[in-house]
């Protein structure tokens, strides 16, 4: 037990937590925006892969880092548009479409990677985002190196939480997005185009997801590997429910999950002799399932989530 407390007191643990949490924040907020508008986006896993590949590839081909982030966001937005065409305009099943998008987007990413780099045997590397030490604050013990010596993308992830909250809850367009997820007929009856609002939300959300993927290849690591998203998209989908569709709680949930993840890596090293390491690998997922069970009974789903809206249909 004391081992665990020791881990909590190391700066390395907190730095790892913050690093792990960054892509989760982007992905969770992206999914949250889509679902607030009433569209479940299970394409997230594939869209994060697209972001990871395209952002990295941009830089590898000679572009600059921020250009890569922007490119990844645009690619994510395009796949979001594809998802929206199927689910919003054609009203197809959001589950089936989302899984289709994930399969298509991941496979296409791997395919393009192979096409552009046919001869690469060991994954080539780029120069990723470097940590920026915030003056004075980074000198604080433990939280200094953990919170204030991170890459620009991590700061962006933390900044985007209050921005998303503000837009969703304090602006007219946020109200329209939330209302589209609650009762699209009400939005229509107030003279607003539901299909456009939903499409916009899915595209912006997907762009966020793609930036989350790009973080992994451009800030966390410096290369693109197959299967490197490794289920993070699905974790984001669960975190949205855990967060009851609220940005602040999404941040808390993501930090909890990331903390468990960082903890298990360290616990493997200290207790690996007695307990098989697979047990620790499993821990964050078990904990998130338990958290979901506890939270799920209290959550209020957006009432029009998964419900397609068709104009002028006889009801």
């Amino acid at each position: 037990m004391s081992d665990l407390f020791d881990i909590l007191l190391t700066a390395g643990f907190w730095a790892a937590t913050i690093r792990i949490v960054s892509p989760l924040i982007f992905g969770t907020l992206g999914e949250l925006i889509c679902e607030r508008a009433g569209v479940l986006n299970l394409g997230i896993e594939g869209i994060m892969t697209v972001g990871a590949m395209s952002g990295w590839m941009w830089v590898y081909q000679g572009g600059d880092l921020w250009g890569g982030v922007l490119f990844a966001a645009c690619m994510g937005g395009l796949f979001g548009l594809l998802h929206a065409i199927f689910t919003v305009y054609l009203g197809l099943s959001q589950h089936v479409t989302g899984i289709g998008i994930t399969l298509f987007a991941s496979s296409l990413s791997y395919f393009v990677y192979r096409m552009l780099l046919p001869n690469a045997t060991t994954p080539p590397k780029i120069v990723p985002f470097q940590p920026i030490a915030v003056p004075y604050l980074s000198d604080l013990p433990i939280i200094g190196p953990a919170l204030f010596t991170q890459s620009a993308l991590t700061y962006l992830a933390l900044a985007i939480v209050p921005v998303t909250w503000y837009v969703l809850f304090r602006t007219p367009v946020g109200l329209a997005v939330r209302m589209s997820g609650e009762n699209p007929v009400a939005v229509e009856a107030q003279g607003i185009n539901v299909l456009a609002v939903r499409t916009g939300a899915v595209m912006v959300g997907s762009a966020f997801m793609a930036i989350g993927g790009a973080f992994i290849t451009m800030s966390w690591f410096d290369a693109f590997y197959f299967g490197m998203i490794n289920g993070r998209g699905w974790i984001c989908v669960a975190l949205v429910i855990f967060a009851s569709w609220r940005p602040g709680r999404a941040l808390i949930g993501a930090v909890l999950f990331a903390g468990l993840e960082a903890m298990q890596v360290r616990a493997q090293q200290s207790a690996g002799a007695f307990i098989p390491y697979q047990f620790f690998l499993m821990l964050p997922y078990v904990m998130s399932i338990i958290a979901m069970i506890v939270m799920a009974s209290r959550t209020k789903y957006p009432q029009a989530l998964l419900v397609p809206f068709r104009r002028g249909e006889r009801v």
């Binding site: 304090r170 007219p172 009400a186 607003i192 002028g312």
Partner: protein, 520 residues
């Protein structure tokens, strides 16, 4: 009536496939007027209003507001032209606040922030002005139905509507809430607004409107000033023929069939049952009145076998009720007419004969060793039932989806009555049906009563209950009032009981007929 029309329909036609929902409709509306659109369900009233509000596009014809043609199919254009609509099914987001529901769409979507302060000020002033009060910060889910309707009206007024459309506004209100709505409408029209009031309830139309337009099968069959109209004439115009609903003939009740004692269901809120006591006798129809959502659904689910989380005792013919086991319940002599024909009554994607035999899947007559369906026997019986209940369809193999509401209800009746049940649960059996089908369904229920069935009729329509039941009780907030003779109280008194939320004496006696009203 000299002022220029604020709104005019010119030859509006709308088709859904082969169905002509609106047939060459021309109509006009002047400021300060309440125009009633009268017609049966499916006559095309709502379709016409949806064209006006831009939900649908007309196939032919035009809508003029202030003499200018309204762009077709644009809700935004309709709102900007000063049209406000209170939909029959409210268009409110329940998890958002009243203010958010009202201000949606009134501010530019590109604005950096909502101007909450000034919209609150404008709303407060409006509520004062029209005497419509609602808490702007309340979540819509916490509001009563009457309050939600006020939010809908405020929503239209907030956008400076000059023409207010109300689609069946009283369908969900108690009589008291309805009269409050009427006084609101009167104060609105004195300010020069025009109102279109859609209804099929004649007494409301005679009370509130200045002019009536009657629709039948998508076409206008007459327009007249309300002052010149009377009830019989309007009914005749609406239905197109005289249909008389069946009447109750006095008959001595027999032995107790269904006995409910201290029935309390689990759960919270208005739909949880609290200490229900009720006995229904053979040869008797007992009505349960009340606004939907006060526990009627829970009671129906328990009696149908869909819900078994309750305490208390349930007896049918002095034997224990087969709680939670629909098949055993049916076998014990219960016929069920569920509230929602499409969701609960029928599997609409299956064929008629399959639906008709769905309660008999294991009966020896319909199956071989409970494994193979005896389709020949099932088809033969389906044909008989279709004949007997006058179901208009292509035959037993037709898809159930293709049937009209009335014909679907006849099928459900045929299935429920096939075993000559001792007890019949009829939950809203005539809702949404036209006059002919209503007369048919009610006639079948009365025949079953004649044969000795005990019938529990759940309905929101007081006129129906008062003309069709021997005894009545009022359900409110999960509580059931004492049973009284259906002729004993007026509709207004019963309405008061519906609204008073359990402020009446609930006796534990099995048969009283002398339940006392308190608090009015």
């Amino acid at each position: 009536m000299d002022s220029e029309p604020i709104l005019a329909f010119q030859g509006v036609t709308k088709r859904f496939g082969t169905l002509v929902a609106n047939d060459d409709i021309s109509l006009s509306l002047r400021p300060g007027e309440v125009l009633a659109l009268l017609g049966e369900n499916g006559a095309g009233k709502t379709t016409l209003m949806n064209i006006l509000f831009g939900h649908y596009q007309a196939d032919e014809g035009a809508v003029l507001v202030d003499g200018k043609e309204l762009p077709a199919g644009s809700t935004l254009a309709a709102i900007q032209a000063g049209i406000g609509m209170v939909h029959q099914h409210f268009t409110l987001a329940e998890n958002l606040t009243v203010l958010e529901n009202i201000t949606l769409g009134t501010e530019s979507l590109l604005a950096w922030r909502q101007d909450i302060r000034s919209s609150r000020k404008k709303l407060d002033a409006m509520m004062q002005d029209y005497g419509l009060s609602v808490d702007p910060d309340a979540l819509v889910s916490s509001l009563s139905v009457g309050e939600r309707q006020r939010v809908e009206i405020l929503k239209a007024l907030y956008r400076d509507a000059r023409i207010l459309i109300l689609d069946e506004p009283t369908a969900v209100l108690t009589p008291q809430e309805a009269s409050r709505l009427f006084s609101t409408l009167k104060s609105i029209t004195t300010r020069g607004l025009a109102v279109i009031f859609i209804s099929h309830k004649l007494h409301e139309i005679l009370e509130i409107s200045t002019r009536v337009a009657v629709l039948r099968r998508g076409a206008i069959v007459g327009q007249l000033d309300t002052a010149d109209a009377n009830r019989e004439q309007l009914a005749q115009m609406m239905v197109g023929r005289t249909v008389s609903r069946p009447k109750l003939s006095p008959i001595e009740p027999g032995t107790p069939v269904l006995q409910i004692e201290n029935l309390t269901s689990e759960g919270m809120g208005a739909t949880a049952l609290k200490q229900l006591n009720l006995t229904v006798y053979a040869h008797q129809i007992v009505g349960i009145a009340g606004v939907a959502g006060n526990g009627q659904g829970t009671l129906a689910d328990i009696l149908s076998g869909l819900n078994s989380s309750f305490t208390g005792s349930l007896l049918i013919n002095d034997a224990a009720y087969c709680t939670g086991d629909p098949r055993a319940i049916v076998a014990s002599g219960v016929g069920r007419i569920p509230e929602d024909r499409h969701a609960r009554g029928m599997v609409v994607d299956m064929e008629i004969w399959e639906n008709l035999m769905s309660e008999d899947i294991r009966s020896p007559a319909m199956s071989k060793h409970e494994i193979l369906i005896n389709s020949k026997a099932a088809l033969r019986r389906a044909e008989q039932q279709i004949d007997q209940f006058d179901v208009r369809c292509e035959g037993p193999m037709a898809e159930t989806r293709l049937l009209s509401g009335g014909n679907m209800q006849k099928l459900i009746l045929a299935r429920a009555l096939a075993r000559d049940p001792a007890f019949i649960l009829a939950n809203q059996p005539v809702r949404g049906l036209d006059e002919g089908a209503i007369a048919h369904v009610q006639g079948q229920l009365l025949e079953a009563r004649q044969r000795g069935a005990a019938i529990l009729l759940i309905s929101e329509d007081l006129d129906e209950l008062m003309s069709l039941t021997d005894k009545m009780a009022v359900m409110s907030n999960g509580k059931l009032s004492a049973v009284f003779d259906s002729q004993q109280h007026s509709a207004a008194e019963i309405g008061l009981m519906m609204a008073s939320g359990g402020h009446f004496e609930a006796t534990t006696g099995q048969d009283s007929g002398t339940g006392e009203l308190r608090g009015h």
